[in-house]
Point group: C2
Chain length 333, copies 2
């Protein structure tokens, strides 16, 4: 196992220490239980957004804490759900009296633990709305999931719902906007290589030198098909067809195209992918009016990418464009 | 060779097409010869900044074209210098009457070609200042270099000199600030894995499953030492000592710490590295007042990192903080 770490059991803690040291202007890090909150939390009168999940997907979620996006993130161990007490303490820390939205990726452990945390928070008088992300069109059920997995749309939801909360919209309205993002967002991923969980010390799965896996999950869960490597225009075609045909698109529709690296993919390849996605959508008469290109929801050092398409309307576009100031996404300020 | 590409010979062109499609608000892409200019180029009365070099180091340099940073970037083939005609055409395209600064990383091909381009541009009446970056403390001469290689400080120079140019400072003053950045910046890199140039189809060098290379260059040039993998605190100590002792530092000095991923390194590991760099500098009484953490000057899919330390003064800090709006770096706007 080749990793830039000290001991496998200290990776998450030491990365959090690094974030705390690097971004004191943006976030505060709480340990035992582990969570990050935006530096000015709690923001009085604002609906707060809390997300979380296993570590190993950085910058998600900790890199998205700050003005205009998340109020708190709860990092679990690598590829392991955070615990209900992390989520509860984060929820209490960021509640500014206007309630808290939990953004939950659809994995069994995350769903169960966020449900428990929400119940406990409600028992302490905090209004909580839970929003599920289940945007991965690759497979219906998966290794850690009943239903579809939650993947790239999570990033877009955190940005857009965060902007709505920043406008001081009411809790239920922020949750509705988040659910609207989930309805309009679809994703699919692929991998060229596996990845190694530090505590495991060996690759999550084996894959041949000439093979790729189409429809992979962000924890290396099996996808739709293992096949020989193909030129990227064929790979994009396979994935984009599945993504774009999962919800109705009409000619002239506007879309946010998110080309995401899985952690070990160089940026030059992501731009080659984006070029193919752009050509594919042009061919269907769908217009990319916003985009995001980079490694934002990753699987440790896995090489590969995912495509997320979010069908836009004026409100989603406006909220996407709103200022954001987090360690990983920043514009307008 | 596992890459998200169509044909090896089309990678650079197709990545440029991807950039053109993704960022028309920020950059315009010119082909044959290949270069990118900021969308509003030429900016009248502003000293213009042009850089360039082999591709495979993305987002450097094309991702740094835009307001507050570069006016143009010239991408060569992967790990191959761009040609003088690219540099000349880019120089002519961005000259707004106040002259052009060439930011040149110290590699023999780049230096020779930028020298020729500068001569030709002067022949056409354009004032050109050339600034060399040679910040890599690892080795004195290298595979493609007489003297030290130009690495991470390039990114910081492009940001800081770009801010000075944006303030409409005179050409020679912008060049002086860039040289001051080079004087104050030092770097060193390391690799866990090799990388594969698409046209070569096989790894640039071989490295054992339990080995790392300390002092590696950004094209896989040999470093100081091949050794067994160590805990990251030992790796950082080795590298940071070499970087920080190359120029005089006194207790209380302020520094910009840039922890850079080589392309295949997950962000969680870069934060673990940053945590070690921070502890190391605290131990020496040097204060990190600014930082940059991410993959900004890369070597295709190589896993590894580099540390760049830039000793700050008030002016450098102010210029670093100035607004920037490029595909890869953005704040303040």
């Amino acid at each position: 196992m080749k990793k830039l770490i000290n001991k496998p059991e200290d990776v998450v803690t030491e990365a959090l220490q690094g974030i705390a040291a690097a971004h004191p202007d943006l976030v505060r890090v709480h340990t035992n239980p582990n969570f990050l909150v935006r530096a000015d939390a709690p923001v009085q009168g604002k609906a707060a957004l809390v997300s979380g999940g296993g570590s190993g997907h950085e910058p998600m979620h900790g890199g998205f804490v700050g003005m205009g996006m998340l109020d708190a993130a709860c990092p679990g161990e690598v590829f392991t759900s955070p615990t209900p007490d992390q989520m509860l303490e984060a929820t209490k820390a960021v509640n500014g009296g206007a309630g808290v939205v939990h953004i939950v990726k659809n994995y069994t452990g995350d769903v169960m633990n966020f449900d428990m945390a929400a119940e406990m928070a409600r028992g302490e008088g905090i209004e909580v709305e839970s929003v599920l992300v289940d945007d991965d069109v690759a497979v219906q059920d998966s290794l850690y999931t009943a239903g579809r997995r939650g993947v790239g749309t999570t990033v877009l939801m955190e940005k857009i719902a965060g902007a709505a909360a920043e406008e001081r919209r009411a809790l239920k309205e922020v949750a509705e906007i988040a659910r609207h993002v989930n309805s309009n967002g679809r994703s699919m991923g692929m991998a060229l290589t596996s990845c190694t969980v530090p505590a495991a010390g060996k690759p999550t799965f084996e894959i041949g030198d000439d093979e790729m896996e189409i429809g992979i999950g962000i924890h290396g869960e099996p996808g739709r098909q293992r096949m020989k490597l193909k030129p990227v225009h064929e790979i994009v075609e396979m994935m984009a067809v599945a993504v774009v045909e999962d919800i109705p698109y009409a000619k002239g529709d506007e879309v946010l195209a998110f080309v995401n690296g899985m952690g070990g993919t160089p940026l030059i390849e992501l731009y080659v992918v984006y070029n193919e996605v752009n050509k594919f959508l042009e061919g269907r008469g769908v217009k990319i009016t916003r985009n995001l290109i980079g490694s934002y929801i990753t699987s440790l050092e896995m090489a590969g990418f995912s495509i997320t398409l979010l069908k836009l309307d004026d409100e989603l576009t406006k909220l996407w464009d709103a200022p954001v100031k987090t360690p990983a996404l920043r514009w307008g300020v």
